[in-house]
């Protein structure tokens, strides 16, 4: 029966062995552990007395022996590092290049998934204001300024309309909202309840209604800015001015085009607008064209002759609100197309296929070479997509035309430079093993050569090929040329099978 102290020491010694074993490379670990276990068995046998009574000195000696496992493990590790294949084996290989591109792609994708602006752009492209909805404004006034008096809206609402099916109205006022934890100054648009159905914009993150409180709709920007994009925001009660209101949902990012830059829309019934809003309060009027109105419309915008409540003739204009939002995918496809078009202007698309000898790479080698080039192009195209999102929406969580523009330009530039690099990289890759040729050596001097060759020679470290790149392209040597080395060269190279 072992004493507790003896068991404790035994556990400690085993623990030291296991800990040190972790330092040993896995391929050598089993044998290393086996040797030390055997040695430990003999050390114990030698140190512990025959009657097996516990001795602190013996245990200390055994533990001291075990501590030697660590320097030995480190030594085995160092020797293994030196004897294993040198890192140069992988350096410049096709697999390494694709791996790096893939890692960059994943990083860009990760950043994109964290940026809310990308989702906002998707939403803006998906939910757009109905193209049959017109913003009615005074012909002489700017459409971004409120110009329609509330009384005109009330008058139109009461009379049957031939050309319009629905009318919606709002006016914007700066008000303070209290969310319980903070006071926020918002542009509050007091709007008719039918505003969003008239515009054809469905609300997102909605909650069941059924409360007596007035409903408000948050703009996408205010939702992101003031509530951090909380998806469970609907149903929360706030105070705007002196009244309590309930958040009914969030307007889609496509509502960015609505004039007055409202942060929230406070939806009020028509009766309230009829009684509480003074007749001359200017606001924004939206009209949805009826079937007859659509048929009568000959151009995107229309002009309307009307009479104001005081029976004075006024000229109004109706302009559609829909400004085309291309959406991220359309922009990406366009940038990709532009990059392919511009590529021949910034780089030679030749891959340097001229050969100095009659040797030609096999079909399999050629196929692999083109698959590698295709994989590089595909990965660069993916990187361009996500990197352009990251650049465009790094600073803004909302959709904006500026961000769209940044996305288009950055996507185009990343594609163009990336494709250019891919072609240049491909030209310096051995057609046999796809590894980059190295050890550039300058051959000849242009000033001392007459009708001779001068340029740079590079060699494949696998011993497959020699690349000649002319310093000055001439009529007899304009492109780089590959010289295939025969098997007599192989003994000079350690790495022959590198991919």
């Amino acid at each position: 029966m072992k004493s507790p102290s003896e068991v404790a020491f035994s556990v400690l010694q085993r623990g030291l062995l296991s800990g040190a074993a972790l330092l040993v490379p896995s391929c050598d670990r089993d044998e290393w552990r086996r040797e030390w276990l055997a040695e430990l068995w003999h050390v114990r046998r030698s140190c512990i007395s025959i009657d097996e009574t516990f001795s602190l000195d013996s245990q200390r000696e055994i533990t001291g022996f075990c501590l030697g496992e660590f320097p030995d493990a480190l030594c085995v590790r160092n020797l293994s590092d030196r004897t294993s294949a040198p890192p140069a084996h992988m350096h410049g290989s096709a697999a390494q290049t694709l791996l790096w591109l893939f890692v960059i792609l994943l990083l860009c994708l990760l950043v994109t998934s964290l940026l809310p602006g990308v989702q906002a752009e998707n939403e803006a492209a998906r939910f757009q204001i109905d193209r049959n909805v017109l913003l009615i404004s005074e012909a002489a006034a700017s459409r971004t300024k409120p110009s329609i008096p509330a009384d005109l809206y009330r008058g139109w609402k009461k009379t049957p309309q031939r050309f319009f099916d629905n009318l919606a109205f709002y006016r914007v006022r700066r008000e303070t909202a209290d969310s319980g934890s903070a006071r926020i100054c918002w542009n509050v648009a007091r709007a008719t309840a039918n505003l969003f159905p008239t515009l054809g914009l469905p609300l997102t993150h909605t909650a069941e209604t059924g409360s007596d409180l007035s409903s408000i709709v948050l703009s996408h920007e205010a939702w992101m800015r003031s509530f951090g994009g909380d998806p469970r925001i609907a149903g929360r009660i706030l105070r705007i001015g002196n009244a309590s209101v309930r958040i009914a949902g969030v307007a889609p990012a496509g509502a960015w085009q609505l004039p007055g830059s409202p942060d929230v829309w406070l939806l009020e019934p028509d009766a309230q607008i009829a009684t509480e809003v003074s007749a001359k309060t200017p606001g924004y009027l939206f009209a949805q064209l009826s079937a007859r109105g659509q048929a009568a419309r000959t151009s995107p915008g229309i002009t309307i002759s009307a009479r104001d409540p005081e029976n004075i003739d006024i000229d109004l204009s109706g302009t559609p609100l829909t400004e085309p939002v291309e959406g991220p995918w359309n922009l990406y496809e366009f940038a990709l197309f532009l990059a392919f078009i511009a590529l021949p202007a910034v780089s030679s698309v030749s891959l340097g296929e001229t050969h100095l000898t009659s040797h030609r790479p096999s079909f399999k080698q050629s196929l692999r070479r083109f698959l590698f080039l295709g994989a590089k192009f595909a990965l660069i195209a993916g990187i361009a997509l996500f990197a352009s999102f990251d650049l465009a929406y790094w600073y803004t969580p909302n959709y904006s035309p500026v961000a769209e523009c940044v996305q288009l330009i950055s996507c185009f530039l990343v594609c163009l430079t990336g494709f250019r690099w891919a072609l240049a990289d491909q030209r310096h890759r051995c057609p046999v093993c796809l590894r980059r040729v190295t050890n550039p050596a300058t051959v000849g001097l242009a000033s001392r050569t007459f009708l001779g060759w001068n340029g740079t020679e590079m060699i494949c470290m696998g011993g497959h090929t020699l690349l000649h790149v002319p310093a000055l392209p001439t009529s007899w040597f304009s492109d780089q040329r590959w010289l295939y080395l025969d098997s007599s060269w192989q003994f000079l190279f350690a790495d022959t099978g590198i991919y």
Binding site: R34, E35, L37, A38, E39, W41, H42, V43, R45, S46, G64, F65, C66, L67, G68, E69, F70, P71, D72, L74, C75, V76, L79, T83
Partner: protein, 108 residues
């Protein structure tokens, strides 16, 4: 050529270990006991000697260990290069023979 190169690099500790193995102390723990060196010195030194092809290791046969009811041990022996290097080291460290005499070991 190799022996001369190894001789130039061989430390006194490594020479002692080679001498111990030559004297018949062919296990790590027995070399420790003979040389008085700690385990953290002896085992790494033996790894390096093995890397330089001065010694060679071999696992004891399982049947022998089973017969004696103990785990099999890894034992070491000198290679031809190791013997040449040891000879050269004895000239460099004349006391090596006195520290671990081959006769003493052979009588064990």
């Amino acid at each position: 050529m190799l022996a001369m190169a190894a001789e130039a690099k061989l430390s006194h500790t490594a020479a002692m270990i080679l001498q111990a193995i030559s004297a018949g102390y062919v296990y790590g723990f027995s070399i420790m006991e003979m040389t008085g060196l700690p385990s953290g010195t002896v085992y790494p030194a033996m790894r390096r000697l093995e890397r330089d092809d001065l010694i060679r290791s071999q696992w004891e046969r399982q049947s022998i260990a089973d017969a004696e009811q103990r785990p099999p041990r890894k034992y070491y022996k000198l290679t031809a290069d190791g013997r040449a290097t040891l000879e050269a080291s004895r000239k460099r460290y004349p006391l090596l023979d006195r520290l671990i005499s081959t006769e003493e070991a052979s009588s064990r």
